[in-house]
């Protein structure tokens, strides 16, 4: 069983090192791949120093393009499972074994680390909380089952999902649209309870105006993915 821990990072020099060390402490010997989205700070240097391999994008791709680059490499290198954690330290690597174990036990294509399955959804801004409630309602009939934390980026996928995502993955705000991509193929996902933390360093780039753009963009993306024909593939 080959597992890769994937960390997309953009200007995360303050947190990415400790995230890598935490992953290595929880899963010694497991390869950690940082996908650097053309950071302007020392993210690449810090990541390498902490012992991760770095896939460095020569130009800024956006979160979805950055994660997809990691999925593509992982698929080409023959990994069976990939667990993605964010580079800002919000995702606690102690839950990676739970995500992996659930992927293997349930045989589902994707496992989402959710703040809301058993927890109280701590460390969620008002804007994000509203977006989560909104998208829960939208996604419920589309997915045919409830999803508690559709914006969570703490995600594990198996090789089947990896193959799909290496060809078809939303480029800007991937989490919610990725669920629809999976649903179109009748793939299954399971949520497991995790606790999330505050970001360890840096600042979120999400402003109230961007939140509105995010909701509109993702809403459109969800419906486009439902209607999309798969003729043209990158």
């Amino acid at each position: 069983m080959k597992l890769l821990v994937l960390i997309p990072a953009f200007n995360e020099e303050g947190a990415v090192g400790s995230v890598i060390r935490e992953v290595q402490a929880v899963l010694p010997g497991t390869p950690v791949l940082v996908v650097d989205d053309c950071s302007k700070d020392a993210t690449v240097t810090v990541a390498r120093k902490a012992g991760a391999r770095v896939l460095a994008a020569p130009y800024h791709l956006g979160l979805g393009g950055c994660v997809q680059a990691g999925y593509r490499l992982a698929y080409e290198l023959g990994y069976d499972y990939v667990v993605r954690v964010d580079g800002d330290g919000q995702h606690d690597p102690r839950y990676i074994p739970l995500v992996l174990e659930t992927l293997q036990r349930e045989g589902c294509e994707m496992v989402i680390g959710s703040r809301f399955v058993n927890g109280a959804g701590e460390h969620t801004s008002h804007a994000r909380g509203l977006a989560i409630i909104f998208f829960r309602a939208i996604l419920r009939p589309i997915l045919g089952k409830p999803v508690h934390d559709p914006t969570s980026g703490f995600v594990g996928v198996n090789r089947t999902a990896l193959e799909v995502f290496s060809h078809t993955f939303p480029l800007e705000y991937p989490e919610i649209e990725a669920l629809v991509v999976l649903q179109r193929r009748r793939f299954r996902f399971v949520e497991v309870p995790v606790q999330m933390r505050r970001r360890q360093a840096g600042r979120s780039t999400i402003t109230p105006l961007k939140s509105i753009y995010y909701m509109l963009h993702v809403l459109l993306g969800v419906f486009v993915n439902i209607l999309k024909m798969e003729a043209k593939r990158r």
Binding site: R53, A56, P58, L171
Partner: protein, 118 residues
Amino acid sequence: MNQMLNVLTVFSILLLALVLVSVRRARIRVEYSVSWLLAAALLLVISQWPGLLTRLPAWLGVSDAALALVMVCGGIFLVVLYRLSLVISDLKDSNVALIQRVAILEYRLESSKEQSNG
């Protein structure tokens, strides 16, 4: 109305000239000039065919020839803009795929170098 048609004639000739000069200087690729050339040619035809403009308002369900002309011009340029959006989207997809491929190849190259260095 004649003055409006004269203005349209001048505008469409200027547009034709601008696009042709840009193609000649290789600032616009031939395949992307086609939409603009067609749009300019269509406007030129309308401007030189006053009979068409007198019938247009009835066809479009408006009372004014000027408004009909605005609607036709708007429609033509919407089609051109739509075509450009298709081109831009395709280029964006290609760019993302290329950037990802370059990153992956660099990663593999570095890994090979490290392996060969022991």
